[in-house]
């Protein structure tokens, strides 16, 4: 027991553990913020898994073809936005089932990425690589958090900065108020002169852009190549994290970091040669997400109009 505690505290005290944690957390932070924005406006976006694949692929492809890294990030965001527009057309304009439309977007984005990869690289066996974002060594001098931040790349900082920015947007601006209103009571929002369809469409596009960035982090920062299975359920985990976060940006950051800390810890336990089969450790993130859903389900205050289509003149 003492041994275990010592190991645990050693781990929690080591900068490398927190470096790993923040790295694992980054796509989750971006993706969770993306889902959060969509759901706050009343739209479930299960397209996230596929949009992340598309973001990862297109961002990487742009850089591979000579664009600089930030252009790659921009491309990934725009591609995410395009799939968001598709999801918005289906769910907000045409009011088809948000569940099924989201799954359709995921299937489409995933298969299109795979198709485009094969058309662009018909004959490669090892995935081609790019020069990815470099760690921010310059920040090493900062007290306490310096060594942790120095191991990160600019995209991680961007993800962290986006948390207060989005919180401010949601709670302190008229735009944020309108967005939250269409997610709670679209009829009342309409009465206040808010264009429900336009706000929801904008929210889904913006949220999907963040999902595209979440994918791009994996190919432009965490790794330097694109693999077919690289998203591996991270998108679904983000959907669970939003419930865990009670649709609040600050809690989303907390949830993503907690989750990532757990993931980084299990990776270390696994490397330390635990007695359990490695698959058990790999299951933990998924089981943990389900657990988060269960724990928070009772307290969850869903946006009241989530998954409810809005048709003018119909109640």
């Amino acid at each position: 027991m003492m041994d275990f505690l010592t190991t645990l505290f050693d781990m929690l005290g080591s900068a490398s553990f927190w470096v790993a944690t923040l790295r694992v957390a980054t796509p989750l932070i971006l993706g969770t913020l993306g889902v959060l924005i969509c759901e706050r406006a009343g739209v479930l976006n299960l397209g996230i898994e596929g949009i992340m694949v598309a973001g990862a692929f297109t961002g990487w492809l742009a850089v591979f073809n000579g664009a600089d890294l930030w252009t790659g990030v921009l491309v990934a965001g725009l591609v995410g936005g395009v799939f968001g527009l598709l999801h918005a057309i289906l769910t907000v304009w045409l009011t088809v089932s948000q569940h099924v439309a989201g799954l359709g977007v995921t299937l489409l984005a995933t298969s299109l990425s795979a198709f485009a990869y094969r058309v662009s690289f018909p004959q490669v066996s090892t995935p081609p690589t790019i020069e990815a974002f470099a760690p921010l060594e310059g920040l090493a001098g900062l007290p306490l958090i310096g060594p942790v931040l120095a191991g990160q790349t600019a995209l991680t900082l961007l993800a962290i900065v986006l948390v207060p920015a989005i919180a401010y947007l949601l709670y302190r601006t008229p735009m944020g108020l309108a967005l939250r209103m269409v997610g709670e009571n679209p009829a009342a929002a309409e009465g206040q002169g808010v264009d429900v369809i336009a706000v929801r469409t904008g929210a889904v596009i913006a949220g999907s852009m963040l999902m595209g960035l979440a994918g791009a982090f994996l190919t432009l920062s965490a790794f330097n190549a694109f693999f077919f299975n690289m998203i591996n359920g991270r998108g679904w985990i983000c959907v669970a994290l939003v419930v865990f976060a009670s649709w609040r940006p600050g809690k989303a950051l907390l949830g993503a970091v907690l989750f990532a800390a757990f993931d980084a810890a299990q990776l270390r336990l696994q490397q330390a040669g635990g007695a359990l089969p490695y698959q058990i450790y790999l299951m933990l993130p998924y089981l943990l997400s389900i657990l988060a859903l269960i724990v928070m389900a009772r307290r969850a205050a869903y946006p009241q109009a989530l998954m409810k289509p809005y048709r003018k003149g119909e109640r």
Partner: protein
């Protein structure tokens, strides 16, 4: 733009919807084929030829359709009750694993059952494994209000890891040269061939039979009525005194069992052992099939045949003209989205301009 509810339901429009959806899909995907640098007409002709052009091709399509019918039925019955079971993929794997676990007991001294009984037990075990895997999410939905879409999705990953763990451990085939695959099923337990010199197996009959059975259940039993009532409006159903919880749980058992049977069929009819890549996403394709069939059990037969044909045809087409066979997945995904829109347009009319 706004939507206006159509006053009368047109049966013809509902039958036409999947056809229009498929045609639009093929039109859209023609752009991708052209982008890949292949002649569109020839590519589609080759795709069709690869799926139906010869006795062998058609047999392959039927073989591929077998698990798809079952996962399609699994999704269709669940969606009827608005239980969004997206976990057919995991349920399929666990069904396959359970089938091999039971089938592997054959010949052991501790477990000497007559062959027909063991065969039935193997099928039942596969169905039970799939059913139990969905019971958890269904229960969490009913009792705790946890969205079943996310839980069933996440459990797909857990199921696959569970299978991988078993194939690394207790169920590993020691003769597989280190490849993670299960011990092979006893040949005596394998489904027999339906067509000579092909891979079509009796699992196809099972799938057809179950589609008809599901149609009869939905059409003529009180459970079928409850299923539709709960799906249409579960509050009204509860108010009318229907056992909503029990209906949803029963529906989950049925749906999971169907997906589990898809796994049994793949092991007993085709592969004879379990690997972690035995399904190229049959569970997810089942969702598309259910939607294309407008959740109708008999429509699932046609929709599954369409998806199987696209997948088998694309494989053979890509060997000839070099359009990546991922085009099959794109076609299937696009068909789902266009079918969603087509179904909506049978119920609503789009009016342009402001009201």
């Amino acid at each position: 733009m706004r939507l206006e509810s159509r006053s009368e339901y047109s049966r013809r429009a509902m039958l036409l919807a999947p056809i229009v959806a498929v045609l639009v899909t093929l039109g859209v995907c023609a752009l991708l084929v052209a982008w890949a640098g292949a002649p569109v007409g020839q590519t589609y002709a080759l795709l069709f030829d690869g799926a139906f052009g010869s006795r062998f091709a058609f047999a392959e399509t039927l073989t591929r359709a077998t698990p798809l019918i079952l996962t399609g039925l699994a999704a269709a019955v669940a969606f009827r009750a608005r239980l969004f079971n997206i976990g057919a993929e995991g349920q399929l794997y666990l069904g396959a694993l359970a089938a091999v676990a039971v089938g592997g007991m054959h010949g052991g001294s501790t477990f000497d059952l007559p062959l027909p009984l063991l065969s039935a037990l193997m099928i039942a075990a596969g169905a039970a494994a799939g059913a139990l895997w969905l019971l958890g999410p269904a229960w969490m939905k009913l009792k705790l209000g946890v969205d079943e879409v996310v839980t069933t999705l996440l459990l797909n990953f857990v199921a696959l890891l569970l299978v991988s763990m078993m194939l690394d451990g207790p169920m590993k085939d020691p003769l597989a040269m280190g490849w993670p695959q299960s011990v092979a099923l006893d040949p005596e337990l394998e489904f027999s061939r339906l067509i000579e010199r092909s891979r079509v197996h009796t699992g196809l009959l099972m799938a057809f039979g179950l589609a008809i059975l599901m149609w009869l259940i939905e059409r003529f039993t009180t459970f079928g009525f409850a299923l539709r009532a709960v799906g249409a409006n579960n509050r009204a159903a509860a108010f009318a005194g229907l056992p909503v919880g029990r209906t949803v749980l029963l529906c989950a058992l049925l749906s999971g069992a169907l997906a589990g049977l898809a796994g049994v069929g793949e092991v007993a009819g085709r592969a004879s052992y379990v690997t972690t890549d035995m399904s190229p996403g049959y569970g997810y394709a089942g969702i598309v099939i259910a939607m294309l069939a407008a959740l109708h059990p008999l429509g699932v037969l046609l929709a599954a045949l369409f998806v199987a044909a696209v997948q088998v045809g694309a494989d053979s087409m890509s060997r000839v003209v070099g359009v990546p066979n991922f085009i099959a997945d794109v076609i299937v995904a696009t068909a789902l989205l266009t079918m969603l829109v087509a179904t909506l347009l049978t119920r609503y009319r789009i009016r342009w301009g402001r009201a």
